[in-house]
């Protein structure tokens, strides 16, 4: 049970769910949540490789970095979503398509 493959499978599932969320959710916050899932799957990967793949402490350090990065990212992204709401009165990302043409 305690093998790399299991961890990686969980990580893949997490990544795929995150990606699915990012691509399909209309709600901006939900998209953000998808991103968090992707980041966490990456973290899981780091830790799994630290445990089995010989990355050792480097994996731990990277995981910590990712957590910090995710926090910062969440803050910035939420600020962007607030701004989008202020400008468009919605957080539906489909309607925010002013870049078109």
């Amino acid at each position: 049970m305690d093998s790399l493959t299991n961890y990686l499978v969980v990580s893949v599932v997490l990544f795929s769910l995150g990606l699915f969320g990012v691509i399909t959710r209309r709600n901006g916050v939900a998209v953000l949540m998808g991103v968090e899932l992707i980041l966490n799957s990456a973290n899981l990967n780091f830790l799994a490789f630290a445990r089995f793949g010989g990355m050792n402490m480097a994996g731990h350090v990277f995981a910590l970095f990712v957590i910090v990065l995710a926090a910062a990212e969440a803050a910035v992204a939420l600020a962007i979503i607030i701004n989008i709401f202020n400008n468009f009165q919605t957080i539906n990302v489909d309607e925010v398509s002013d870049l078109k043409q």
Binding site: L19, V22, I23, T24, V93, D98, L99
Partner: protein, 684 residues
């Protein structure tokens, strides 16, 4: 004693002072006080003083071999080199004096004659231009600058003949003079080019030495000589180009005296005298015949003319023929001698006629008569009492031209006649030459006295006009007196006093040079022949002159012989002579009209055929071709390829634009698809 450098300076001044006067008068003449005539007169008088000082220097040196050359390189292209410069010898000096003297007299005479003329300052300017170009001819040491000045003389002649260009006849006469001269000048230029091609130099001395070395000879030399002589035929108005000179009398009379009697027409003679050494014997024979025939033929026209200036004009042609005849028979120093004496007495005669015409003109003007011709001798008569100075001076000049002893014409004419007689004694087959000479001498004496008798003697034909005739003012009579004085033998025979022999400073200072053509007789041989014939010629010339004068006296004073009856008796001959042998008419019929027809035919071919069909056809084809290529370019190339490229880019862009949805998640999906594709490719 004047040294070489000073002679160069003097020559430069003599050449360029009249040009300066021309430049000043043509630009600002009208605004100067007295319309600038004093500028021209000052310049010409200084020129005269300089020429006289050169003459004085010649007398002081008493050196028949004197010559001075100054030259500079004008064009130097290695093999092709042209040097311009002066050649001053005794002939040049005498000629300079003649030109500047007659020119000065003309300037002075014109003060009165041209008074109040509309183009007074321009007239004086042109006189300056003429004097400049004539002195240029005289001073030239090479053919090319001689030719340039030759043409300049032609131009100034044209300008002065057509001075009163409001009159159509004057404008036509100027044009005729210019164009007739062109015919001669073409030959002249061919001659120059032949010489240059053979010898490679324009310089007289180099040309002479080239000829003597045999660089050019045979028929080519004859051709070149005849070519050069053609220039003289044009300018000196010899048969068959004599037609312009009588018409040139349309110009103001002082101009006629200066250019068409004394100097410009003498340029042709001067040219043949200058170039005498290079004429081959064949060329000289042609020259002699042209001259002799012209002398006789022009004299025979002068008999019947009634216009006082026309008589003098034909007389000039005849006298120039004399000079050319003398050159032809080898006695070219006599030709130059006659040029000198003729310049004096013929200018005097022209001034005299000018004085008479002036008086007639004023008288007719007062009577408000604009129909009577002031130049027609039939309207004159008895002027002797009214115009004594004009009468006496003209009589002296007439005695001189008729070849009466004690006057200059006798000496020079005698020399020419002796030359032609000597030539005929040596070559009896050319007996016509002296016949022409003596015949012309008799006729000359006749018609010149006819002129004097008709103008000054007998009854006045128009009493009303006669009453108002008066002597011309001092500025007009002064040149008359001076020039008639110079028609007396003594000025040419000094320091000797023998009126029957031309032996004097002229014959001692100006010696004939040998011909450089191998085989031609030397100056000594020619001189022998002349000497041999001298007394016979003198006796004969006295006889024919006496005959002419006597006949004229009988006809016009004693009225023993009726001129009208004789004219009727000689009906055909009279008509021929009176109508100048129909030369103008025949030239018109056989030269100008066919030429005009030819020109029109050529113009027709050029305009109506060539231009219309060929040139315009070309245009049309080009237009059509351009249209075609335009279509290919625009419709084919531009529309399909150039615009097609743009259109397809545009269309592709339109299609591609669809991808830009603006939806964030679409982009992400694309990125994901891209990543997957890359991964798939990498795995494969």
């Amino acid at each position: 004693m004047i040294t070489g450098n000073i002679i160069t300076d003097f020559s430069l001044l003599i050449l360029f002072l009249p040009l300066a006067a021309f430049t000043i008068n043509i630009i600002v003449g009208k605004r100067l006080p007295r319309q600038g005539d004093w500028v021209s007169i000052g310049a010409i008088l200084i020129t005269l003083v300089l020429s006289l000082s050169m003459l004085l220097n010649m007398f002081m040196n008493w050196d028949s071999d004197f010559s001075h050359e100054a030259k500079f390189t004008w064009i130097d292209l290695g093999a092709f080199k042209i040097e311009l410069g002066f050649w001053v010898d005794n002939i040049t000096i005498v000629m300079l004096v003649v030109v500047s003297l007659i020119s000065s007299m003309t300037h002075i005479f014109s003060l009165e004659y041209l008074k109040g003329d509309v183009r007074y300052s321009r007239y004086y300017a042109y006189l300056g231009l003429f004097t400049f170009s004539m002195n240029g001819i005289v001073l030239a040491n090479n053919l090319i600058s001689l030719y340039v000045f030759w043409e300049l003389v032609g131009v100034s002649s044209y300008l002065l003949i057509a001075h009163w260009f409001e009159k159509p006849s004057a404008a036509a006469a100027g044009k005729k003079a210019f164009l007739t001269n062109r015919v001669g000048d073409i030959g002249f230029f061919i001659g120059i080019m032949l010489m240059f091609t053979a010898i490679g130099s324009f310089n007289f001395q180099e040309v002479f030495s080239g000829v003597s070395q045999g660089l050019i000879g045979g028929s080519l030399l004859t051709l070149a000589g005849v070519g050069l002589f053609m220039g003289a035929v044009g300018k000196s108005s010899q048969f068959p180009l004599h037609i312009w000179l009588p018409d040139a009398m349309e110009g103001p009379t002082p101009v006629s005296a200066l250019m068409h009697a004394a100097t410009m027409v003498a340029a042709g003679v001067y040219l043949t005298v200058r170039l005498f050494p290079l004429f081959s014997s064949d060329a000289l024979l042609i020259i002699a015949y042209v001259g002799g025939f012209t002398a006789f033929f022009a004299a025979s026209i002068a008999i019947t003319q009634n216009d006082i200036k026309k008589v003098l004009a034909y007389s000039t042609v005849s006298q120039l023929g004399y000079m050319i005849l003398a050159v032809g028979v080898g006695n070219y120093i006599a030709a130059f001698f006659h040029l000198l004496t003729h310049a004096m007495f013929k200018a005097c005669l022209f001034y005299g006629s000018g004085s008479v015409i002036h008086a007639m003109h004023h008288s007719l003007h007062e009577l408000d008569d604009h129909k009577t011709d002031p130049q027609d001798m039939r309207n004159m008569g008895g002027f002797k009492s009214k115009m004594p100075i004009t009468y006496w001076t003209m009589t002296i000049a007439t005695l001189a031209i008729s070849g009466v002893p004690f006057f200059s014409g006798f000496l020079s004419k005698d020399a020419i006649l002796a030359g032609s007689l000597g030539f005929a004694q040596h070559y009896p087959q050319h007996f016509l030459l002296p016949v022409f000479g003596f015949g012309a001498a008799a006729i000359t004496a006749f018609y010149m006295f006819r002129l004097i008798f008709m103008t000054f003697h007998g009854e006045s034909k128009m009493p009303k006009v006669f009453k108002r005739i008066h002597e011309s003012p001092r500025v007009m009579t002064f040149p008359l007196m001076l020039l008639s004085g110079l028609s007396i033998f003594i000025f040419y025979t000094l320091p000797y006093f023998n009126p029957l022999s031309d032996h004097g400073w002229f014959t001692e200072l100006i010696l004939a040079g040998d011909s450089v053509v191998p085989g031609n007789p030397t100056a000594h041989e020619i001189g022998e022949g002349v000497h041999h014939a001298h007394y016979t010629a003198m006796a004969l010339s006295l006889l024919v002159a006496g005959l002419g004068i006597g006949l004229s006296y009988l006809m016009y004073i004693k009225k023993k012989l009726s001129a009208e009856a004789w004219a009727k008796k000689m009906g055909f001959m009279y008509k021929l002579s009176f109508n100048k042998y129909y030369f103008d008419e025949n030239y018109d019929r056989f030269l100008y009209q066919p030429f005009l027809k030819l020109s029109r035919a050529v113009a027709y071919v050029d305009w109506d055929l060539y231009d219309k069909y060929f040139i315009n056809g070309f245009g049309r084809i080009t237009k059509w071709l351009s249209f075609l290529t335009g279509r290919i370019d625009y419709d084919g190339l531009d529309q399909s390829i150039v615009d097609g490229l743009g259109r397809s880019v545009q269309g592709f862009g339109k299609q591609l634009k669809q991808v830009q949805t603006g939806r964030l998640q679409n982009y992400m999906l694309f990125a994901l698809v891209g990543v997957i594709i890359i991964l798939v490719i990498q795995t494969i």
